[in-house]
């Protein structure tokens, strides 16, 4: 802890490389860059932060570090062309480091052109298994934004270490990327909230990238995550939709993207079946100001991008705005399952109240992109040059191609990210009141490994997140993947139905929130906000404020008109949750499995729907009843259009919905309208002339195939079971309407104007009075209705 603080307070130009001074090593001899691979110890390393390790751990490490390396004294982190941050977080967090001394990074051997003052940070710990690769955020954040559990981390304690309650280390951690099939996110098997996430409060963006067929341990823990930005379960056959949606507060509302490449696929189906735009969760939580920025900031203003040692890249994006952070990681791990971390560290100290997006950040992003493209061009050129020379090893060529692919992926991702940063600026009005807006950059995990432990090349994940930590502002989450993007635009609608009772189940531990219970009268009162001067009631707070302007100039100030936000400087207020006053209701606090309601609006809707009379009746169908006006209005939008009927009696307004229903349920068939099945079978006449007229009849009667029967007709005749029979229709042709032609068949014939195949037949038959008959039919229907 102390060590980190030290580094944080170090001046911008101090070096970010952390090192345990207590165990300052002799120059560790491990040089394992690509060129000297195979020539062990050919070159003395110039680095290194080194740490005492015990023998067993050292051996384990040796496998991890490329090329093994001679163990001379304390272990050293080699940092040649790959940057490994073997961060034994548990040690770190447990305060095992007594001090941290920044050192300059100098591990680059000849043949590599490393940007001179590139910052790197490396730790090694004594008694840990190198569980994590921690890419340090390129810009000084208040704390790490993301963690990646990589292929090397097999120890079950990996991520739990992070969440050790001893160390409030990562208050702003916003995503965990499980790159590894074996990374176990769920050490809690009881389905309760993952301890890792218990740390992150308020809910932060969690991105889970899984791969491979391994026992994706997060099955149940996924449900405990606060927020899903992106779940990508490529080849993760064990992950099922139920796991994603099960439990906790992680409902589909938080899921902005979900891809399932070659995976089980059920997740995708599931989300498609839901078919609704996904809404971000509604959070009624006090904002927490992240004041504990204990984490180190690494200064030298360079990005490190890393590649094969022949390649050199110009440095890029030297002046990234703190608001946007980028980390790039590529992995070429040919011989081991290591990961590369390109790192970018900004020298400026952190400003926890930086704004989310500004033009400078944008510009730097774009310039970064430009440089990046140049780099890719360089690689491609070099590949082209190498093609001339046969002596090149195929491995290298393949690696370079992979690199190009990775770079292109990252460019795409960066583009998306950059575009994504524009979002908060659009909604700047809301953001402006929020002090702590953090924009998390993009993360690219893109690596290949011969061992097959790492993430596949094709798997890369990007997510953009802004975390506003305000009760009002919804976290706008935009998750994308480089293919198969399923984007759900966040809907900022607070009184959506999905928020009401049963919509969302939180996993708030009992006691972590304050339970309020309104009385029935309060709930049913038309107004919730009252003017303190004249007593007038309002439904919305904003309307009240507008009203207050009339009571004097003191109410016209910006402060008075502004939305009353929670006191920013106070301690986090206890979350408020609501209870239904109806005893026995699940939403009542006395209930055994009490589930609180989130907002007052939820309470109102819940109470009306569940415990009140349904007094609003649809005037069209006269059958559907509602207790909430909004529900009635929703129903009226599609009432009467349910002309697609299943044999089970369910009606649908859309044909494809009916067919989806039919394909889902065994034995259900599409039901034809009555008219068609009741065609009189009169064609059985011996007389030739009769047969001829009969053929005409048949055509007529088949003309009404019921596909496009006028909606109004159904509405009117809906109550009669035999409404399709012409006789009954006559009875609806009320007295005084005899002037209208009988619309029974003519109306239904209009359906054939929609059939290209039939039009030639039937247009000729029904002639030009087709339209008029439709019109008259509609008219008579209307009149009948009004009667």
């Amino acid at each position: 802890m102390r060590a980190l603080r030290t580094s944080m307070h170090s001046p911008p130009n101090t070096i970010a490389l952390l090192q345990t001074t207590a165990h300052q090593p002799p120059a560790a001899a491990s040089s394992h860059n690509t060129t000297t691979r195979g020539k062990r110890g050919g070159e003395a390393p110039r680095v290194i932060p080194a740490i005492r390790t015990n023998r067993r751990e050292g051996l384990a490490r040796e496998r991890l570090i490329r090329g093994g390396g001679q163990r001379q004294g304390p272990r050293a982190v080699h940092s040649c062309d790959h940057f490994h941050y073997f961060l034994p977080l548990s040690s770190l967090m447990a305060g095992k480091f007594e001090s941290v001394t920044p050192t300059r990074h100098g591990a680059f051997t000849e043949g590599q052109r490393w940007p001179g003052s590139a910052p790197l940070a490396a730790w090694e710990a004594q008694a840990d298994r190198v569980p994590l690769l921690l890419p340090l955020p390129p810009l000084p954040p208040p704390s790490p934004c993301f963690l990646a559990a990589s292929a090397v981390s097999r120890a079950p304690s990996d991520l739990t270490a992070l969440t050790s309650s001893r160390c409030p280390m990562f208050p702003n951690l916003s995503c965990v990327i499980a790159l590894d099939p074996h990374a176990r996110l769920s050490t809690t098997h009881d389905g309760s909230r993952h301890p890792l996430l218990a740390r992150f409060h308020p809910p932060t963006l969690i991105s889970v990238l899984t791969s491979g067929d391994g026992p994706f341990g997060a099955r149940r823990a996924l449900g405990a995550f606060w927020t899903f930005a992106l779940v990508r379960n490529s080849r993760c056959r064990n992950l099922r939709a139920a796991d994603v949606c099960a439990g906790g507060s992680c409902n589909a509302g938080n899921l902005t993207a979900l891809t399932s490449g070659r995976g089980g696929g059920s997740c995708r189906e599931w989300i498609i079946n839901r078919g609704k735009p996904v809404k971000p969760p509604h959070r009624d939580r006090p904002r927490i100001i992240s004041s504990n920025q204990q984490f180190a900031h690494f200064d030298p203003p360079n990005n490190c991008y890393n590649l094969q040692n022949e390649q050199s890249f110009p440095e890029f994006a030297p002046d990234l705005n703190p608001g946007s952070q980028h980390a790039y990681l590529t992995d070429k791990g040919q011989s081991s399952s290591e990961m590369n971390w390109g790192n970018h560290v900004n020298p400026t100290s952190v400003n926890s109240t930086t704004m989310g997006c500004d033009p400078r950040a944008m510009l730097s992003n774009l310039s970064f992109l430009e440089q990046k493209i140049h780099q890719v061009q360089d690689i491609v050129r070099s590949i082209m040059n190498q093609e001339g020379q046969i002596c090149n090893q195929p491995n290298e060529l393949a690696a370079q191609q992979q690199l190009v692919t990775a770079d292109l992926t990252s460019i795409i991702i960066q583009l998306i990210t950059t575009a994504g940063t524009l979002l908060p600026s659009i909604n700047g009005a809301l953001l402006s009141t929020n002090s702590s807006v953090e924009q998390l950059g993009s993360v690219i995990g893109s690596s290949t490994s011969l061992l097959g432990l790492n993430v596949n090349m094709e798997q890369s994940v990007v997510f953009t997140s802004e975390e506003t930590k305000t009760p009002e502002h919804e976290g706008q989450i935009k998750g994308m993947s480089n293919y198969g993007v399923e984007e759900r635009s966040p809907v900022e609608e607070h009184d959506g139905k999905d928020l009401e009772d049963g919509g969302e189940i939180e996993n708030l531990p009992p006691g972590s929130y304050e339970v309020l219970q309104l009385e029935k009268e309060e709930i049913l009162a038309p107004h919730t906000h009252f003017c303190s001067i004249c007593g007038k009631g309002f439904k919305r707070d904003a309307n009240l404020r507008m009203h207050m302007r009339g009571h004097g100039d003191e109410y016209k100030t910006a402060a008075a008109l502004a939305k009353p936000s929670k006191d920013q400087n106070s301690e986090p207020v206890l979350i408020k949750r609501y209870s239904c006053p109806f005893v026995g209701c699940k939403r009542n606090k006395e209930h055994k499995k009490f589930q609180p309601l989130k907002t007052i609006l939820c309470v109102k809707n819940h109470y009306k729907r569940s415990h009140c009379d349904k007094s609003y009746i649809c005037s069209r169908c006269n059958s559907k009843k509602f207790s909430v006006i909004a529900d009635l209005k929703t129903h009226e939008k599609h009432c009467g259009r349910d002309k697609w009927i299943c044999s089970c009696g369910t009606t649908f307004s859309r044909k494809d919905k009916l067919f989806g229903h039919v394909s889902l349920f065994q034995g259900h068939t599409p039901a034809l309208p009555l008219e068609e099945t009741k065609v009189p079978g009169t064609s059985d006449q011996g007389q030739i002339n009769g047969a001829m007229t009969n053929m005409g009849n048949t055509e007529l009667s088949f003309s009404g195939s019921g596909d496009d029967i006028d909606v109004l007709d159904i509405k009117v005749l809906d109550n009669d079971a035999n409404f399709f029979s012409p006789v009954n229709f006559d009875s609806y042709n009320l007295g005084g309407l005899n002037d209208f032609p009988r619309p029974a068949f003519e109306v239904s014939e209009s359906s054939f104007s929609f059939f290209p195949s039939m039009s030639s037949n039937y247009v000729r038959k029904s002639g030009e009075n087709l339209n008029s008959s439709v019109v008259t039919g509609t008219c008579s229907a209307r009149i009948a209705q009004s009667c």
Binding site: T669, V679, D684, A691, F702, S705, D707, F755
Partner: protein, 667 residues
């Protein structure tokens, strides 16, 4: 008197009673397919009659009004083919269902009209074991009929081709109700969309053959179709909603696919083909007729089909390089069809036949650029060729046909229409002793000499086409008639030198069922009478412009050729009497009577009324006003269609040279 007769019958023991029914059935199994034979068999005695009634499994009635009595005679009919009955009422269908019950397994209603879903309902309700229904061309039937079909739980094969009024709703009923469907044809079902087809693919998992040609489907239903586990034959002809772009993203693969027909899809190229056939390692036949140009990438995409045997590229634009690419990338082909392809050259064709020596079927119809070089390489490499169609390859020189005869001994079908073949070529071809179908129409260089060779050596010939091969005379025809006892079809149209003696010799061919002697002015009623006497199975007869044929020819024809179905009498000297005599042929369905001088409106009306089975009559439009409107309506209600023609009277035959010149200009 009667008692005495009965006594006498009782006295004489019926020796046939000793023959058990099993033996009778075995005899019946071995009888000739000729319906008359079975008729004679059943007339032997009561036991034979009953045995024949119980033995019959397939029934093809000519008229539906007698169905109840016929069905009571044949109780164990499993397949009822009503394609010859233009009018099948609901009552008839109800009778079928009522009398055959669960014995009925298959019914063909493809050419019948006038029934509704009510008739189908009684049929389906009674015949629980119905396995096959052919409802093609039932353009009046809509979703109600489809819903009725959906109640046939055991249905396996269903054709709804051209059922244009059936929509997704009806198809949905079928999909849910008939889970055992293995073959479904939705060709030209214009009311059907993705939803219906998709539901079929989801619900009917057993489907092996699916035809959604000309259906307005898009890419949306393709994934579920490709997930059918047993799908073998998929036909997507003319599905314009499908193109490369939409197919490119298909994820599914169908491993069981064996035949794929993508004809008439101009917008489907190699991309779509690749994604449709992803994983289809068992693909045997690929039909890409009238698609886009055959490109290299298309040819390369064929590489992965190791079992591909047949490719049909009819009407495509095929370049030499494309053909070479196909030759290089395909597994050994047995069947290749390049008819009407543009751009086929000697080089490409020689290359591909050189690579694929196991070809048994090759169609190069109308490949007008190829010369004897191609034929040389074809005959040199593909010696196992069984079928060669090379109509209108007019640049191929005479000697090429000698190579065909010398090298391809296994040929069974040979189409040399409109080629330069001469007698030497015919002599060589006569070595192909297995030849059964030979078309040498419009071959102006051949005469009797060659044809006599054919007649002597090719004894298996069943069909021979000598249309406008004007060098042929009676001698050649006699040789054919003598040598080819199995002859079933002969076309001698516009062979001007043919006389009655040809017909007399042809009357020895007992199996002859099709005779076309259009435009042979030297043929008279005498010859036709000889045919009537000899060829009892004659079903199609074209005697147009045989001016000497008159009533004298018609009467024996009407009396003896009871199987006649189709006749063309235009320009003949037949009068009312002859035509009326013809009306007694109950099978007669199709009649063309144009420019018959001796015919009056009354005679025609009488014929039409008397001829019960008529389905199509072609008449001169002058009769339209002469015949009463009631009669026409009556005939139409009976299921007969009238075609009114207004062709000018043209007696003199066109000189062959002029005609040839015209056809060249057209082509």
């Amino acid at each position: 008197m009667t008692t005495a007769k009965r006594l006498r019958v009782a006295e004489e023991p019926n020796y046939f009673d000793a023959v058990t029914e099993e033996i009778l059935f075995m005899i019946l199994d071995r009888l000739d397919p000729n319906p008359l034979d079975k008729k004679s068999f059943s007339l032997v005695c009561k036991a034979f009659y009953e045995a024949e009634s119980r033995h019959r499994r397939v029934l093809t009635p000519l008229r539906s009004d007698l169905l109840p009595t016929v069905l009571s005679r044949y109780p164990s009919v499993a397949r009822l083919d009503l394609s010859l009955c233009p009018r099948v009422t609901d009552g008839a269908l109800a009778a079928v269902g009522g009398s055959l019950r669960s014995a009925l397994r298959s019914i063909d209603l493809s050419r019948s009209r006038a029934f509704t879903h009510a008739g189908l309902e009684s049929l389906v309700a009674n015949s629980a074991s119905l396995v096959e229904i052919d409802l093609s061309n039932a353009t009046d039937l809509g979703d109600a009929a489809a819903a009725v079909i959906g109640r046939a739980r055991n249905l396996e094969r269903l054709s709804l081709a051209r059922c244009k009024a059936v929509t997704d709703m009806g198809l949905g009923c079928i999909a849910v109700g008939c889970p055992k469907l293995t073959a479904l044809s939705l060709k030209w079902c214009l009311g059907v969309t993705d939803l219906g087809v998709g539901l079929v693919a989801i619900k009917c998992k057993e489907i092996r053959t699916l035809d959604i040609s000309y259906v307005q489907v898009t890419k949306k239903c393709i994934p579920s179709i490709l997930q059918l586990k047993y799908l073998k034959n998929l036909s997507l002809v003319g599905c314009h909603g499908i193109d490369d772009e939409s197919l490119a993203t298909l994820q599914q693969d169908c491993r069981s696919l064996e035949t794929l027909n993508l004809s008439h899809n101009e917008h489907v190229g190699h991309v779509g083909l690749t994604s449709l056939t992803k994983g289809a390692v068992h693909l045997r036949e690929l039909i890409l007729a009238y698609c886009g140009p055959v490109s290299h990438s298309l040819a390369n995409s064929l590489q992965k089909f190791s079992k591909l045997q047949s490719i049909k590229l009819d009407g495509c634009q095929v370049t030499t390089s494309g053909l070479k690419a196909i030759a290089n990338s395909c597994a050994p082909l047995t069947e290749l069809s390049l008819s009407k392809c543009l751009g086929i050259s000697d080089e490409g064709l020689s290359f591909i036949v050189g690579k694929h020596k196991e070809l048994t079927k090759l169609d190069i119809t109308c490949c007008r650029k190829i010369t004897a070089t191609s034929i040389a390489s074809i005959t040199a490499s593909c010696t196992s060729l069984k079928c060669l169609k090379m109509e209108s390859c007019s640049l191929v020189s005479r000697e090429a046909f000698i190579w065909i005869g010398e090298r391809c001994h296994l040929l069974e079908e040979l189409d040399l229409t409109d080629n330069e073949i001469d007698n030497q070529g015919l002599k060589a071809i006569s070595r192909c002793s297995r030849l059964s179908i030979l078309k040498i129409g419009i071959c102006l260089n051949i005469n009797d000499e060659g044809l006599i060779c054919i007649g002597r050596h090719c004894q298996n010939i069943q069909e021979i086409d000598l249309y406008r091969s004007v060098g042929i005379t009676d001698n050649g025809v006699a040789a054919i008639a003598q040598g080819c006892a199995n002859l079933q079809m002969i076309n001698l149209s516009y062979c001007m030198d043919i006389t009655d003696s040809s017909l007399k010799s042809l009357s020895k061919c007992l199996r002859l069922n099709t005779l076309e002697i259009r435009g042979c002015p030297r043929v008279s009623s005498v010859g036709l009478s000889a045919i009537s006497l000899g060829c009892k199975q004659i079903a199609k007869l074209d005697v147009k412009k045989c001016f000497d044929i008159n009533d004298a020819g018609m009467i024996p024809l009407a009396r003896l050729s009871r199987n006649l179905r189709q006749i063309n009498l235009s320009y003949c000297s037949v009068t009312d009497m002859g035509l009326l005599a013809l009306a007694s042929i109950s099978c007669l369905q199709n009649m063309t009577v144009l420019h018959v001088r001796g015919l009056t409106a009354n005679g025609l009306a009488a014929t039409l009324l008397a001829c019960v089975g008529l389905t199509k009559v072609k008449l001169h439009s002058s009769f339209r006003s002469l015949l009463s409107q009631n009669l026409i309506e009556h005939m139409e209600a009976r299921g007969c269609q009238f075609q009114w023609r207004d062709k000018p009277f043209k007696v003199e035959a066109e000189p062959i040279k002029i005609w040839k010149l015209q056809s060249d200009v057209i082509s």
